[in-house]
């Protein structure tokens, strides 16, 4: 631990922490756009500039490690002027289409522009103009909204280990792209989308489905592999419109393509919606993806009452004729603990057999 002073407050902070971390942990606000707590510091947006006694120039709080006795001033007229200028410069090259931007309401740039009241285009000038040309079905890239904070590049490299993208070109033409602008070689985990502070990277599926703040958010667990990543379902009109994961979950907000973009099955028109009872004799062979089968000719819709009565009576019948061990149940690794508990209890206590298993081995 070292002793430092931020804005007149005497603090004890861990020796290896940066000024930004030390301030954050002590509820002292320093604005930033390029910093992400799970990624290595970048120091590109220059918003977190602070004054440190003994330094000739302001330093970035995100990259500067604290030292014993360090005295930091996080806000002064000079510092605020620089931050304002930086914001003016970013906004001078940013499409002002917050009206239709998916990020509105959760955009870090929008929030800071609001805080600093940056509106007038003092330095209006040329804007970058890009054609969108990516055919991938998951990630929407709007490079005109990109502020080159580098978070996506770092997430792709440091977290995902894919290195699909990096900075390219120089000067005002600098942009994030694949090497030699070849096709994206990507796992579509969407970590880049998760860390993007603006509307430059969003999910294709989200488009015009409901912005943060207008949706109901429910914390739950991913329905795919056994890792159990924590996710948040964003719901609008009884439809999941987006999946995100918070930074403070144990999975640190990282997901994979299935977890982040694979939720559409929930609202699939192919979902079963009513009990079905077979009417046609069994053909003995499933269709295995062949099209053109009319399920209405094989099954008829039934009420719950009828279906449940039928099941109960058939179970009772077979149990009476062949014994309880002529019955077997397969439960599901995709059902909850409670349902699995009830299923085995059902097979054992209600049906009377230990013939119960699930797909652990498959």
């Amino acid at each position: 631990m070292v002793r430092i002073n931020i804005d007149g407050k005497e603090l004890q902070v861990p020796a290896q922490s940066t000024i930004l971390e030390a301030a954050k942990n002590n509820d002292i606000f320093i604005p930033t756009l390029c910093h992400h707590p799970k990624l290595t510091p970048f120091g590109g947006c220059r918003l977190c500039l602070v004054e440190v006694k003994g330094f000739l120039k302001p330093v970035t709080a995100c990259t500067t490690t604290v030292g014993e006795g360090m005295e930091v001033v996080t806000s002064s007229p000079e510092i605020e002027e620089l931050r304002r200028l930086v914001l003016e410069l970013i906004l001078s090259d940013h499409p002002n289409d917050c009206m239709v931007c998916e990020k509105t309401g959760s955009c870090a740039l929008q929030e800071l522009a609001y805080m600093y009241g940056v509106r007038e285009a003092e330095y209006a000038g040329e804007r970058r103009n890009y054609e969108t040309r990516d055919g991938n079905p998951f990630i929407e890239r709007d490079l005109e909204k990109c502020i080159l904070c580098g978070r996506c590049v770092k997430a792709c490299d440091e977290i995902q280990g894919v290195e699909a993208i990096d900075f390219g070109y120089r000067g005002f033409r600098a942009k994030i792209c694949t090497s030699y602008e070849e096709d994206l070689d990507c796992e579509f985990c969407g970590q880049c989308v998760a860390v993007c502070p603006t509307g430059a990277l969003t999910g294709k599926l989200w488009k015009l489905k409901g912005r943060p703040g207008t949706t109901k958010e429910i914390d739950t667990v991913c329905p795919y592999c056994g890792i159990g990543c924590n996710i948040t379902a964003h719901v609008k009109k009884n439809e999941i419109v987006r999946i995100t994961s918070a930074e403070d979950t144990w999975n640190e907000g990282w997901l994979c393509v299935k977890g982040r973009f694979g939720y559409q099955f929930v609202s699939s028109p192919d979902r079963l919606v009513r009990p079905l009872i077979r009417t046609a004799p069994k053909s003995g062979m499933p269709s295995l993806g062949r099209k053109g089968i009319k399920w209405g000719e094989v099954f008829r819709e039934a009420s719950w009452e009828e279906a449940l009565d039928l099941i109960a009576s058939r179970i009772r019948e077979i149990k009476e004729t062949h014994g309880a061990d002529a019955l077997a149940g397969l439960s599901s690794a995709r059902c909850t603990n409670e349902e699995n508990y009830v299923f085995q209890k059902f097979m054992r206590a209600a049906v009377g057999t230990n013939n119960v298993d699930h797909c652990a081995r498959l």
């Binding site: 592999c225 379902a233 144990w250 694979g262 179970i315 909850t336 081995r361 498959l362």
Partner: protein, 526 residues
């Protein structure tokens, strides 16, 4: 997993065997990559050049089904070079001396002959793992889905005990579970031989305990495993099945056998969210709610119990699985005596001490890893801190035996199966997701370009893959990921289902089928 996932970051050595972590468990791979950035050394053993190889120090590209030889070979080197953890072996294990003799014959030369891995690499891997006292092993179905699956796991256990790489933070053995609640289904005893919490049916006093709790007499004899059920159904010993949220036609080996078995039932109930392949054979199909449409808990691969919360209403008249079962149970004259997931969970906790301390209320503050015996217990991040539950752990000698089906003149290729990054299991969920289907919606077989060249097959062309059990036509994807003589088919695609071909030979102990190795022949389709 004996460790928890965040502990991966602190590991010095990560040994991945039989796991395509980056595609099957991508978020675990993220942690491994983080560890790698901090200096951890990664060893990958796999028949395929899986994506994690990019981060590996040593890659052991082995022939499918030769895990025991490889693991014994590594143990051989660790013993011979004195890299073992003598203190741990002395105090925490038994049967070392006898076991030691069993690995003597696994010299690097011999192991190279069996596995096809250069002996220098085996030595390097053994030294890396053997010299570390903060190492984690990770495996999945590449280890278990073999007729020698149990022995594969034992061989891993021997390596772990030899080096004492268990029972500490960032140190342990970590099978990665493939499905969101496969841990929970096992915990909750959807298994033929145990009651919830792995309490054995045939252990004295256990059945009585559950009979009392559930207020009814319970069958004393352990039941059949899933694969055994299919055999029994085919033979007419099983007459009716209730299948909830499973698609065995696609996921079980030897599909034609599964279809025959299910087709011969007198009565089949399938309860699912989609008209899955298995449902097409059902007498009654019940519409269920998916995990976004109900409350409950999942237990993940690190034994962490986490809350699942209802986000949307189920479509149409679909109902959650639990209420359906409670209704049928009532009709059968047995009232389970609870009506909400939370009450079920409370009963579960009363009957299994390791779960006793977990409540829905506590879970609102985040997941808890069992064992968690009391309301004040924080849960258990890693297992065996205080030693093994049954005292000293025994070394068990494991002999190498080849897979049940080996290549011959007629079937010269080895087929191995698994998942890819984009699809999930039988595809019943992911294949309804348009973006995923657009990107990865077509079945394919990975084949080495040299093999393809000999067969006159180019990328994108259809080829026929056939085994003694069946054949499929599928598009060829030429890639050096697979070695010559090996082909790989992802399991997800019903229109070219890998399990038409796979072998239903079982591991004798845990009855797991040998998905990872069977012999096939390949010809171009003209």
């Amino acid at each position: 997993m004996t460790n928890s996932i965040p502990e991966i970051e602190g590991m010095e050595v990560i040994f991945i065997i039989g796991s395509n972590t980056k595609e099957s468990h991508p978020v675990v791979a993220n942690r491994m990559i983080k560890a790698h950035r901090r200096g951890a050394k990664i060893i990958v053993a796999d028949p395929r050049r899986v994506p994690m190889v990019k981060f590996s120090e040593v890659f052991l590209k082995m022939r499918p089904g030769t895990d025991i030889a490889l693991l014994n070979g590594m143990a051989h080197i660790i013993v011979k070079e004195g890299l073992l953890n003598g203190e741990f072996v002395r105090e925490k294990t038994e049967g070392f001396d006898q076991w030691k003799k069993s690995v003597e014959e696994f010299t690097p030369e011999r192991v190279e002959g069996i596995t096809g891995v250069p002996k220098e690499d085996i030595v390097r891997a053994a030294r890396l793992y053997g010299l570390s006292r903060k190492a984690g092993i990770f495996y999945t179905m590449g280890i278990t889905q073999h007729t020698c699956g149990t022995d594969n796991v034992r061989a891993i256990a021997n390596l772990v005990m030899l080096t004492g790489n268990i029972g500490r933070e960032s140190t342990g053995v970590n099978p990665l579970r493939g499905q969101n609640n496969v841990q929970g289904s096992s915990d909750a005893a959807c298994m033929p031989n145990v009651y919830p919490g792995y309490q054995k049916i045939d252990m004295p006093g256990i059945r009585e305990k559950f009979e009392e709790a559930w207020g009814t007499a319970l069958p004393p004899k352990p039941g059949l495993t899933a694969t055994e059920m299919m055999d029994a159904a085919a033979e007419g010993r099983i007459r009716a099945m209730y299948i909830m949220g499973e698609n065995p036609i696609i996921t079980d080996p030897n599909m034609h056998h599964t279809i025959k078995a299910l087709g011969s039932l007198d009565f089949l109930v399938v309860q699912d969210i989609f008209m899955i392949d298995t449902a097409e054979l059902a007498d009654v199909v019940l519409p269920a709610a998916c995990s976004f449409e109900k409350d409950g808990t999942f237990a993940n691969t690190e034994r962490k119990v986490q809350r699942v919360r209802k986000a949307v209403e189920p479509p149409g008249e679909a109902r959650d699985d639990m209420s359906i079962l409670l209704e049928i149970s009532k009709r059968l004259g047995y009232d389970m005596g609870h009506d909400t997931p939370e009450k079920v969970f409370q009963e579960y906790g009363r009957l299994w001490p390791a779960m006793a301390g977990i409540t829905y209320r506590r879970l609102d503050g985040g997941g808890i890893q069992w064992p968690c015996p009391s309301g004040t217990h924080p849960g258990t991040r890693f297992l065996y801190k205080e030693g093994f539950p049954k005292g000293k752990a025994p070394f068990s000698s494991v002999a190498y035996c080849p897979p049940a089906e080996v290549t011959d003149e007629e079937y010269p290729f080895v087929l191995t199966t698994g998942r890819n990054l984009f699809q999930y299991h039988s595809g019943s969920m992911t294949r309804t997701v348009k973006s995923i289907e657009k990107h990865a919606g077509e079945p394919y077989v990975e084949i080495n370009p040299l093999d393809a060249g000999r067969l006159g097959v180019r990328t994108g062309e259809m080829i026929k893959v056939a085994s003694r059990r069946g054949e499929i036509e599928i598009r060829a994807r030429l890639t050096k990921r697979v070695s010559e003589g090996t082909v790989f088919i992802p399991m997800h695609y019903r229109e070219a289902a890998a399990n038409v071909i796979t072998n239903d030979a079982l591991d004798p102990v845990v009855k797991i089928p040998e998905f990872k190795v069977c012999a096939v022949k390949i010809e171009a389709v003209r």
